[in-house]
Symmetry: C2
Subunit: 518 residues, 2 copies
């Protein structure tokens, strides 16, 4: 083992000697992948009806706590039954509101070529968001996130074409005071990436600041900004059955400003939701649908997506588990329900593993494949997540991007084309039983694009791999991460816009930023 | 890194101190999992027809080399067009023969409770077979396989309930002379396991010896042995378009003796088959179907399965790649074709990775999920495979079994049950918005069986995991492997039968075993 570790260090050094500024890897081009697969649907029609009935009865009979006075007033205005902060709504009203939500919608970041379509069978991927801690092979320790690390993960999010949007804090930069953290990180994001960004709904100041910064970065007037979604928020209910004040405040602000709205209850079966998956999914839907109804009251046609984060606890410790069989089935079931409600759907790439090893990758693979199988449109946390979301890791980020690229490639219809050129009878006849297909014109014509080309997978045989240092995947990913950061070049930005953004941040810092009493 | 390695060694020592004879892990019970999912079907109806047309035209117009005189005579007898060793057959004949093959069949090993159903939506898993080399964390080196290592992998195959059959040499024991290798390994297999075993088709002596040993182990007369399949062979065509002498010899012997027959062309797109997947699949089917037709001529109703091993080469090196997007789609496409021909299907768990790391697990996950998605019935190499099948690894074996157990759990219909008990409205009402579900009767009643329980995954948080040594997955698997081997107890066997088996092996060794001129 010590020998193995030494050799793996060798791989790290090799990484550092790479030229700056060169294309570190050959990667697939930017595109919005389309998922042609018929979704995996465990639920029968009756099963879908039973879960819908459950969600509706939760909303009608049990109710949801709405801890936001303004939202309560809005619900009162549409005839909800309100008891203190408990809100009950009839299914006719809910379904009428949900029907107003578009089945797909677009978000346009400052680089309009990075426009996203949320829905329409697209499956789009975003970076890990919100871990308080950072882990890398360099330190081998879990440590509180910093702005430098956060910026590195933003750079990886920009670098990889398979990452479509840049959500949340890729790691929470705890060296920035909480009152101004959103300003610095969003400045970094808007200058280091040109992809769709996100705001937390943590108090009105943060949301208003984020809207203003995204407006400035896009060079929009306020009117232009509100003409269509430019970015989005994601809110989580406080399961069971509760929406808190700041989340709903941000949700309503973003709805009024015509921005993207994603609601993702975190219903951990056996803890914050029933131990049975159907119940956990029904509860999750009830919590999500009431937020979507609220948005539709505020702005009919508001751009909404329903998220799922139904997993289970470890039976031994009560700790959350991720990428489990239960997680996969809950995601597929929610996918069926999202299609029933004609809403775009969000899921995640997740694992419980603490380091980017075998377990991390089978758990992450399970969750990512369930996103494909469920017809998910937005996949959060698709790169870089460890320890149930408590750690962000750059090695894991690079490794996950290989899996994401493979999923993108998997979705390309040319793989299952069956025209005469693909059946290739002439080629088969030409080679017959004696030769091989390497030198054939049919092969040569297609060779460079026929197959997926990896960037961190090592496909050499053992001897060649061993000769080259015997480097395990995580260490190879570490080398790539370092080289990508070293050679990173931010996307172009108009200098006037950059100055306006910087001035806005400076002014808001002078004003004290945002309250930290959340 | 050195620090990390030291800590990981610590985990290995901890493993060794485990008590002998205890149940090392809690695992899921033995069962034949049923795959209820509708398969993922990239091909349209026209696509299926196009690939079928391609396969038929290969058989009708191009032909297959049949390097076995007896098989040639059989084909001549049914009106094939024969030119030297090239055999062409009309589609009517092929389809008539294929229609005689049963859509499902059973295999009964010496422990009749381990009987397998091949087909009927079952998905069954087998150990890695045939790697010449062994790698474990203990040595960190690739080394030629030995009988001891082979026996260890047989013990793992017996130990894990998620492994349903014990195929091939789990590692090729190169310290046994090739002339008697089959005798020693099959003796080890039949005494260390009570699961379905397999014979290579490498010359008549090996196949006849294997049949005799399986007959003895089952306590059968020859008549009882031939009354129904007790074990199976798997043959590979020599792609492109060739079946060699010993493979066909074994195939025909096993057909006459009414044993299980699996044919798996190894059509590496771009090398031994067209660079286009549809062509590689069509060629694979043509090579497979002619063997199945041969078996049906010999024994109408013979128990056949069609295998797929269509992957692609690395565009850079020409080396085979495994667990790729192309591999997944080829497997799904072959699944559609197997259903078209109403034949049980065999696929594999594969990877190109050289060590049991992240890459190994995403490649293996890709291949195993494509087995599920394709409706595969037999999954070869499902545990322990590395380096494109050139290495067997006990750590990888243990890790793969976690993934296999998760797949088994994923297939259990209770996960998507939607009765009133699962929707759990009463539980949701009882907890309301204030509490949690941990203590609820609804939870307590289901807690121990509600969720998948891992054995090598570590779901503790980082701190608890770090405190316990910070052991990465491969090293944890190493500890389990050692403890399983230390405490292994072979399944019971009648002493008279064991003696008869040993005497048979001794006699055949005295006779010189089998020729080694293959």
């Amino acid at each position: 083992m010590a020998d193995g570790a030494t050799r793996r260090r060798g791989g790290g050094r090799a990484g550092k000697s790479a030229r700056r500024g060169s294309a570190v890897i050959e990667q697939m081009p930017w595109r919005l992948p389309v998922n042609h697969d018929k979704p995996t649907e465990p639920l029968s029609e009756e099963g879908v009806a039973a879960i819908h009935e459950g969600a509706m009865r939760i909303l009608e009979e049990i109710g949801i706590e709405i801890l936001n006075a303004e939202a309560l007033e809005i619900f009162r205005g549409v005839g909800a039954i309100i008891d203190g902060t408990n809100v009950r709504l009839g299914r006719d009203f809910i379904m009428e509101m949900v029907a107003k939500a578009p089945a797909s919608w677009r978000m346009t970041p400052r680089n309009t070529e990075r426009e996203l379509v949320i829905g329409e069978n697209h499956i789009l991927f975003g970076n890990v968001s919100s871990p308080p801690n950072f882990w890398s092979l360099e330190t081998g320790r879990k440590m509180p996130g910093t702005r430098v690390q956060c910026a590195e993960l933003i750079k990886l999010s920009q670098y990889f074409n398979c990452i479509h949007f840049c959500g949340g804090y890729p790691v929470e930069p705890q060296d920035i005071h909480a009152s101004i953290r959103h300003l610095d990180v969003l400045y970094d994001k808007l200058t280091l990436t040109d992809k769709v960004v996100h705001t937390y709904s943590l108090g009105k100041e943060r949301v208003e600041d984020a809207m203003e910064m995204v407006r400035i970065a896009g060079g929009h007037s306020r009117e232009e900004f509100e003409a269509s979604p430019k970015f989005y928020t994601n809110i989580n209910s406080t399961s069971p059955l509760k929406h808190d004040e700041p989340m709903l405040d941000g949700w309503m602000r973003m709805a009024r400003a015509n921005q993207g709205l994603v609601v993702t209850p975190f219903t951990l079966a056996g803890a914050m939701a029933p131990v049975t998956l159907a119940g956990a999914v029904a509860q999750s839907l009830a919590e999500g649908l009431i937020a979507i109804a609220l948005a539709q009251v505020i702005r009919p046609g508001a751009a909404c997506a329903i998220g799922t984060f139904t997993s289970n606890v470890d039976m031994k410790s009560g700790a959350p588990a991720f990428g489990t069989p239960e997680y996969m089935r809950a995601t597929q079931m929610t996918g069926q329900m999202a299609r029933f409600y004609r809403l775009p759907m969000r899921a995640s790439g997740v694992c419980a593993a603490n380091v980017p090893d075998g377990q991390a990758m089978w758990e992450t693979s399970n969750s990512l494949w369930s996103a494909v199988q469920s017809g998910t449109n937005m996949v959060y946390h698709a790169a870089g997540w460890l320890e149930g979301g408590l750690i962000a890791s750059p090695e894991k980020f690079v490794m996950d991007c290989e899996v994401l690229q493979m999923i993108q490639r998997y979705l390309e219809p040319e793989l299952w084309a069956t025209g005469p050129d693909e059946i290739a009878l002439d080629a088969i006849a030409e080679v017959g039983a004696q030769g091989h297909f390497f030198g054939l014109q049919h092969t040569q014509d297609r060779y460079t694009t026929a197959f997926y080309q990896p960037f961190v997978s090592d496909w050499r045989n053992f001897e060649a791999w061993d000769q080259a240092g015997g480097v395990w995947t995580a260490e190879r990913a570490h080398g790539l991460y370092k080289r990508i950061i070293e050679s990173f070049e931010p996307p172009p930005m108009d200098e006037g816009i950059r100055e306006e953004l910087a001035a806005f941040v400076a002014r808001r810092k002078e004003e004290g930023g945002a309250p930290t009493d959340f």
